[in-house]
Symmetry: C2
Subunit: 510 residues, 2 copies
């Protein structure tokens, strides 16, 4: 490495208007600010530019002279052709195993529970192992990989650690490809550099604290948007985020750890680059992660919980659901197929999905004549118009799925306004009612978090009663019952410190 230190503004005007410029702070701005009106400034500018002796560098037509061009490298030493500057030339497909090997078995929906990120950890262990020789896959994170339930990877690679070790230390490895450091900035910088040099990776992060790299990911997205338009720039592996330890399950950490807004931030950026996925269970997480790890030139944001979550879909169903990005879960609704549904219950995210299914079950029991459609959204950009995002649905698709005129009660993982921002152009938008995180709640029980933010199953049933024409009067007793349970919940958690048994022990009864 050669370090060349030069005065700031070197070779520029030494002095302007009697004040020193070269080598001073004044060289940081435009050194000659009045060229248009001040002949002395114009003279200094001419002198400065002539000092480069352009006649020696360019011919009469303004083209560089042959001896100048002779310095320019050719072939693979050109900037656009050397893998040192164009890392995409080095990218190899990541060896990903068949997902079926890691899928959780699902005989019927909602009968078993798994921690989705733990299931993903098994897949990542395989990827880590399969790249042991190639050494082109790394997992970075500001948190403990084990705390996010991805610890299976340690069987294939330890944590990078160059300093001394103690007897009690575990999983430390001088050549480890799991990189933990409590600095989101460092993780982001590491991974960006790693991707830009033609390799692959995944950044796992507490959802709330990924905002720390908002500004860094901006620049990466802007870079990708521009370089995607350069034909010589070879695609690089996508920047993949796994946001876990999310807003709904901060049972010990509380308000300071609750912020689902990274999705909002990213979705303001170039649609050709950004992708956001909210898999509702373990198998959909596998499918989404598989897709993200195979993709190029994207920023993929995956939001998935680490807490036990019901398994809703078989691997085959999960693949189909993720491929379509949003779809009807007919087994969860009460549509007969003979007429249009009376209401659509939609969910995006693992906790909202559970609440929507519990609400669907309550509606089935209390209002069995109501035709309820249950829709699940994995790929949130599907809600955008097709002209606004490559994944956006056409109006035909959207109107068919959500109806143009029936109430839609949408339970969303993050700030509810995002769904309106995505869907405001749709025909049925005025019938869309969204529940989500409203910056309320702190250290409390899991169910109390959803109650406080009006995302709970009982509130969703009340929303349906409030919005389906004709139900308000007829179902007033049901509505009252829902309200009563919420009050009972309020009293119960204060006395027992845990959720109502009917909530804590709830399961899908399909």
């Amino acid at each position: 490495m050669i370090v060349l230190r030069t005065p700031k503004g070197w070779t520029g005007p030494a002095e302007v208007d009697g004040l020193p410029v070269e080598g001073t702070w004044r060289a940081h701005q435009v050194p000659l600010s009045a060229v248009r009106d001040n002949p002395e400034h114009l003279r200094l500018l001419e002198e400065w530019l002539r000092s480069y002796r352009p006649r020696e560098l360019f011919d009469e037509d303004g083209a560089p002279r042959p001896d100048v061009l002779a310095c320019v490298p050719d072939g693979s030493r050109r900037l656009g052709s050397t893998p040192h500057a164009n890392g995409g030339l080095l990218v190899r497909e990541l060896p990903l195993p068949p997902l079926e090997r890691y899928a959780v078995p699902v005989d019927k929906p909602g009968a078993t529970l798994h921690e989705p990120t733990r299931v993903l950890g098994d897949l990542l262990e395989n990827v880590m192992r399969a790249t042991a020789d190639r050494r082109d896959f790394r997992l970075v994170g500001p948190d403990e990989t084990a705390s996010n339930r991805l610890q299976a990877v340690y069987a294939a690679s330890g944590k990078a650690w160059q300093a001394g070790t103690l007897d009690v230390d575990e999983h430390l490895d001088r050549h480890g490809r799991v990189m933990e450091i409590l600095s989101e900035h460092t993780c982001q910088g590491w991974l960006e550099g790693y991707l830009l040099t033609g390799r692959h990776g995944l950044f796992s992060c507490y959802e709330a604290f990924v905002h720390i790299v908002d500004s860094m990911v901006n620049q990466h997205i802007k870079w990708l948007r521009v370089t995607r338009r350069l034909p010589w720039r070879a695609p690089i592996a996508s920047l993949n985020y796994l946001l876990t330890s999310h807003v709904w399950r901060q049972d010990h950490n509380g308000f300071s750890h609750q912020d689902p807004g990274f999705v909002d931030h990213v979705l303001n950026k170039s649609p050709e680059v950004v992708r956001v996925y909210l898999p509702p269970d373990a198998n959909t997480l596998l499918s989404v992660a598989d897709h993200a790890l195979r993709s190029k030139d994207y920023v993929n944001v995956i939001v998935a919980g680490k807490q036990p979550c019901f398994d809703w879909l078989t691997m085959e169903q999960a693949r189909a659901h993720c491929a379509r990005g949003a779809g009807v879960w007919d087994w969860a609704g009460t549509e007969s197929g003979e007429r249009e549904p009376d209401v659509v219950l939609a969910a995006a995210g693992d906790v909202p999905t559970q609440e929507v299914l519990a609400a669907a079950q309550l509606l089935r029991n209390h209002l069995p004549e109501l035709a309820v459609r249950v829709v699940n959204v994995v790929d949130i950009a599907r809600l955008l118009p097709s002209g606004e995002h490559p994944h956006g649905m056409t109006d035909f698709e959207y109107d068919g799925l959500f109806t143009p005129d029936k109430p839609v009660v949408f339970a969303y993982h993050g700030y509810p306004w995002l769904i309106h921002r995505l869907a405001y152009r749709r025909t049925g938008h005025r019938h869309l009612h969204v529940r989500g995180y409203k910056e309320i709640g702190t250290t409390t029980t899991p169910f109390d978090m959803v109650v406080r933010n009006d995302l709970d199953r009982y509130r969703l049933v009340m929303d349906v009663i409030d919005r389906v024409p004709g139900l308000a009067v007829r179902a007033a007793a049901v509505r009252q019952e829902m309200e009563d349970i919420r009050l009972r919940h309020h009293a119960y958690i204060r006395e027992h410190g845990v959720d109502l048994p009917e909530v804590a022990d709830w399961s899908w009864d399909g």
Copy 2:
């Protein structure tokens, strides 16, 4: 200062399940994870808790014993009563001068130009001078204060600088209260600490790079939301941001410096804490800054340009306009008052305001029979429903201002989707059409930035023609003319490197 270093998990179980815990990484998580089922874990927990000898600390009713309570300080030495921990007890009102002293004279709208932040700089110089003895006001920023046109403050206080100086240095002062450091994180940390200890300040920042502190401001907003509910917690001065060098005028920096999304980020947070202002000219900036500097317990975000900007309002008009937050500029429209307007042209932000006024003028000339209402929005939260934000308009107000059924063409400073996210509940939402920054453009002419993002006057006129019923056919020639000018613009800037004379030399002809 006393530094006490203890083993991690000190006094907890030394060993659990045969593995060392105290003094190791294992003490970071729950050390006894199976208390419910494992009698040995339960025994260890009991032993651990008994080691604190609770019987010596608490009486039979569980209350602390008198000798324990004797250690608790009383009076002003209590945590909530000492100004060391409750800095709000120390806050004094900031001495702010009459704004009229700094206001720019406006005989008629749009006849003169000023750099709004430079005008604000004169006001800040006065504040800096008036606090010279009290020393409780600071200006922090990652950029050059002079580059953001606030350099007048140097006449009252230099830049804080403790190290050596050179002959060429200017405005450096060991006791300076202007604090420049190219680290948004440090600026934010400095200012938060300063406010929490009972003092005042302003953070001036490039708009795009304030995202660097997204996560920090989250925590400050959360802290304010919680402490506002604590009766003993005295209010502190608001955290005030001046976002300048904004998205529309990055003539030299380009795409990497363009991101107006901080407003979106902040507006997801607790409505009782966050306030966002987009003053359209110098006098409105003075009024908004005056309000922000007097306020308590808020996070105020002010977005204002540093480039020459038309002066639209007198100081008196500016005060009234900022107090109402959004209002009709009747001098700019063509409403007769005898019938409802055919279309509303709305703007939020300095550049959008200029484009809307230019569009209003084009409409007046080309389609004089059209009744155009011009609305300007300073306080963006006014668009929210009154139940969602303390500044939100009632539906009566909103419908009166924007009409329930006429097309609204809204030119917004930032990402256009934000306006939909704020106004989606309004009666006339389906008639609302928003233009804003779409993540397009880079180093180019000022007008080309607005053209590329479809925010320019010609595009706005086309939007009006497209949306007012009956105009499409009748005004086809006008629409074509607008399209032609945009094409001419495209060719002209490539040839001349500057904007069309009719754009560069445009002024309001009221």
